[in-house]
Amino acid sequence: MATLEAFKTDEKAWWCPGCGDFGVLSALQKALADLDLEPEKVALVAGIGCSGKIGNYINSYNLHVTHGRTLPAALGVKLANPSLTVIAAGGDGDAFAIGMSHFAHAVRRNMDVTYIVMDNHIYGLTKGQNSPTSDPGAKSKASPWGNVEQPVRPLSLAISAGATFVAQGFSGNPRQLTRIIEEAIRHRGFSFVNAISPCVTFNKINTYDFYRKSLVDLEQDPEYRANDRAWALRKLLETGELVTGIVYRDDETLSLEERLPGFLQAKPVAQRTREELEAEKARVRQLIESYR
């Protein structure tokens, strides 16, 4: 039984004091401990960005990939060994700019991976350029006259693309965020958690204060039902996605692994020993002969 301590490391986090990412890290660690997972059975794939450093501070198997490619890599880990709990995490730039295509495809592929986007509406590590979730008009050194693009709406986008689990949490509300992450990990299939995680250094618009004032807990809405797609989309439109909670979930759709023929019935490929692979080799004779 792993404790919260088991998921911590000695390494001092490199984030700015007050950075939202601290809250996401501890919510994740808490969720893993609450779910009684063992550190060695958790694989975390992180992207590039301030957020992407999350894997440096958690005691699990960590793979820190190139910018934007967490989801394909996480898919690879999961395919190699479906017995692992696989988490992908990265920033809003990582997810919705350079990684946008993988995000949309992961959603429709529905592999059993939990994706935590640490959304600060900015490029933190490269010092404050606008990201795809930045507000219209937001100024940055790379857009001194203000952002001319409409922001990506990650929650609606995910739902429209066919996501089976879509939630939003806030680093300033660790208890709720922890619960959401736990549910996400439990979900069989692709679960997307947009974790609002303010950048205290570069983002002077989307601050803790701003969110404390504007976020509403969707689950408190009397009409709330987690599996009502149309309602969720309407609410998101109305609120400009300033909500928290599990916005939508669909527990019926099979995960990718379940749909792959014969896949989950077999021993995880990464666990096959040299001897087992040698033994499987014998079956290749037949395949070769089929070309004769």
């Binding site: 820190h64 394909p72 690879g76 880990v77 999961k78 295509s101 990464a270 040299r274 692979l277 080799k281």
Partner: protein, 605 residues
């Protein structure tokens, strides 16, 4: 009856999308089952229907593994086929053409070539529809080549049995009518093929062989994205891996594909991707990640003509430098080059051992000719496939590590560090594309950086994959150096040269990275003359040899390289070497004589 040529060449040509490819494949497969060695070569373009295409089957009683510029029998389904291919016909050759398009031979037709119109379309309609035209042509060809029809029937039953009796019958009828027509109307006796050894051969492409090798080596995850001419690898594995509890994922692009491999390799699977030029360009960043995180991984590049979209259906060997040096920064990669269908298989397997032993990306540099053209093989070296998983660390060792943390990137004399797999207790570590210390923690201290760069490169020093294969006398007067698909072509060229008394050696480069400079230098030392054969515009192999100082002083090096999309044929190699060596005798005549139908004109009376 005509004399039997050394290699007999049958070709069929017509419009793309009219089954030219599969007709050639049927003939090749039937012949290979009968024990012939064959080589099936196609000329096609990036379109699905329309446009000229042709497929040549070269047939012999000994291994034949390259294209040629000679044809004995041309089956023409369009006039364009005749116009584009007539120069290849040898004296005594026959053009079997569909009467329907009123075929005619152009003026420049080589002497002694006969046009034999045959109502293919008409017969086909009778047999079961226009689609049967190719089967009629096959039937007629069977007669012309002196072959029994029964093996063709058997093929039809195996291939189309599942589609029901009527389909089978229509095909058989078409074959028979074609055969009968030819027997009745063709003048003279049929050709005589060399007699085969009777041992059925495997008929397959390099892509198929490579996929089989990967399966043999325990590859269970394949992530790809369709691209000519690499798709065959994904498609072959898609039919196989689910039966082995594995999976093939068609991803959204090559960026995704290579990162699936990164994740799977990290987690302990033997995983691969396969692509061609444009995909390799997209994967460069991901390959760098694999080098930096020391993740075992296999990437196949079935090269095609570039740059950019280039000529997707044409052969070229022009990714060599990109495969070794194409990534930003300096990350070690192993690059190996198969040069036969057997080597496609064994490299497809061995790549996984190299990947796990040296914990780095291994690139197999195949090419379109190897990957897509039909080869025969006696067998594939399955029994030689060994599985070596490298420095995987045991549970017990990890337990001893305990709380202090596992040094995934420990400094060792070989540079190779012990590797834990997700799921193993106490083995947790960070694999990052950022510079890191022995634990994997990000670390930019200059001294750590220096040692880590050194460690990663150090590993390659022990790579023991063969530098090259060599065949010939110890001290030949000329050494011909090739790589990839050119092996078979060079073999034929050297046979001609040797028949004229030349002392020639054949070196086929098998490893590009780490570049075997010392081995090559040693082999070249003291030789008067080396001749490089590579299919590209800038001479990339030459570039590598020079850069690595692998050419000893005194060795004269000439080269033939081209990038016109056509595979090399033996005379392009034999001719300049003969000239250089001042060979006596009529090489030209020999090159063709062996394939000639002697005496001219007798073949078809």
């Amino acid at each position: 009856m005509a004399a039997s040529p050394r290699v007999f060449a049958w070709k069929i040509g017509g419009d793309q999308g009219e089954g030219i490819d599969s007709t050639g494949t049927i003939l090749a497969t039937v012949l290979a089952r009968a024990g012939y060695w064959i080589y099936g070569y196609k000329w096609f373009s990036s379109r699905i229907k329309g446009g000229h295409t042709h497929f040549k089957v070269r047939i012999s009683d000994r291994p034949v593994n390259g294209a040629s510029s000679d044809t004995h029998v041309l089956v023409a389904l369009t006039q364009e086929t005749i116009d584009k291919n007539i120069d290849e016909l040898l004296p005594g050759g026959v053009v079997l053409a569909d009467e329907a398009f009123r075929p005619r031979l152009p003026e420049r037709t080589p002497a002694g070539v006969r046009l034999v119109p045959i109502p293919l379309s008409e017969i086909a309609k009778r047999a079961g529809g226009a689609l049967m035209r190719n089967m009629v042509a096959l039937g007629a060809s069977a007669y012309l080549l002196g072959l029994d029809l029964e093996p063709f029937h058997e093929f039809v039953r195996r291939r189309w049995g599942a589609k029901g009796e009527p389909v089978v019958e229509a095909n058989i009828k078409a074959l028979e009518e074609g055969y009968a027509f030819a027997r009745e109307h063709l003048p003279g006796e049929p050709f005589r093929l060399p007699s085969p050894d009777g041992r059925p051969k495997l008929t397959l492409t390099g892509n198929q062989a490579l996929a089989l090798g990967a399966v043999a080596a325990g590859c269970r995850i394949m992530a790809g994205y369709p691209i000519t001419p690499a798709t065959g690898i994904m498609e072959t594995l898609a039919g196989i891996l689910p039966k082995f509890g594995g999976a093939v994922l068609q991803m959204e692009d090559e960026l995704a594909a290579v990162h699936v491999v990164a994740g799977a390799g990290y987690a302990g699977a033997r995983a691969m991707t396969a692509t061609s030029g444009p995909g390799i360009s997209l994967m460069q960043e991901g390959i760098g990640l694999l080098s930096m995180t020391e993740t075992p991984s296999v990437i196949v590049d079935v090269q095609r003509a570039g740059p950019s979209t280039g000529e997707p259906t044409k052969v070229e060997q022009s990714d060599l430098l990109a495969l070794i040096h194409g990534g930003h920064g300096e990350g070690p990669r192993i690059v190996i080059v198969p040069s036969s269908v057997e080597e496609c298989f064994s490299d497809g397997a061995e790549a996984f051992n190299l990947a796990e032993r040296f914990q780095c990306p291994v690139i197999v540099a195949s090419d379109l000719a190897l990957g897509e053209f039909l080869h025969t093989a006696e067998d594939l070296p399955l029994e030689q496939v060994r599985i070596e998983r490298g420095a995987l660390v045991e549970g017990e060792e990890l337990r001893q590590v305990g709380e202090t943390g596992f040094q995934r990137y420990a400094f060792t004399p070989t540079g190779i560090s012990p590797r834990s797999l997700p799921g193993q207790p106490h083995g947790q570590f960070l694999a990052t594309g950022s510079e890191h210390n022995v634990f994997g923690h990000v670390n930019e201290e200059p001294e750590n950086r220096r040692r880590m760069m050194e460690k990663r490169w150090k590993k390659l020093e022990a790579v023991d994959f063969p530098a090259f294969t060599y065949e010939g006398p110890e001290r030949p007067d000329a050494l011909v150096v090739g790589l990839g698909y050119t092996r078979g072509v060079i073999d034929e060229a050297l046979e001609a040269l040797r028949a004229h008394g030349a002392s020639v050696g054949h070196l086929q480069v098998r490893r590009l990275s780490p570049f075997p400079a010392a081995e090559l230098r040693r082999r070249l030392e003291g030789l008067p003359f080396a001749f490089l054969v590579e299919q590209n515009a800038t001479g990339e192999l030459r570039f590598l040899l020079e850069a690595h100082d692998a050419i000893p002083a005194g060795v004269v090096v000439e080269e033939v390289h081209k990038a016109d999309g056509r595979p090399f044929v033996p005379e392009e190699i034999a001719r300049p070497v003969a000239e250089r060596l001042g060979l006596q005798g009529d090489l030209e005549a020999w090159l063709r004589a062996g394939e000639q139908l002697a005496p001219v004109g007798e073949a078809v009376r």
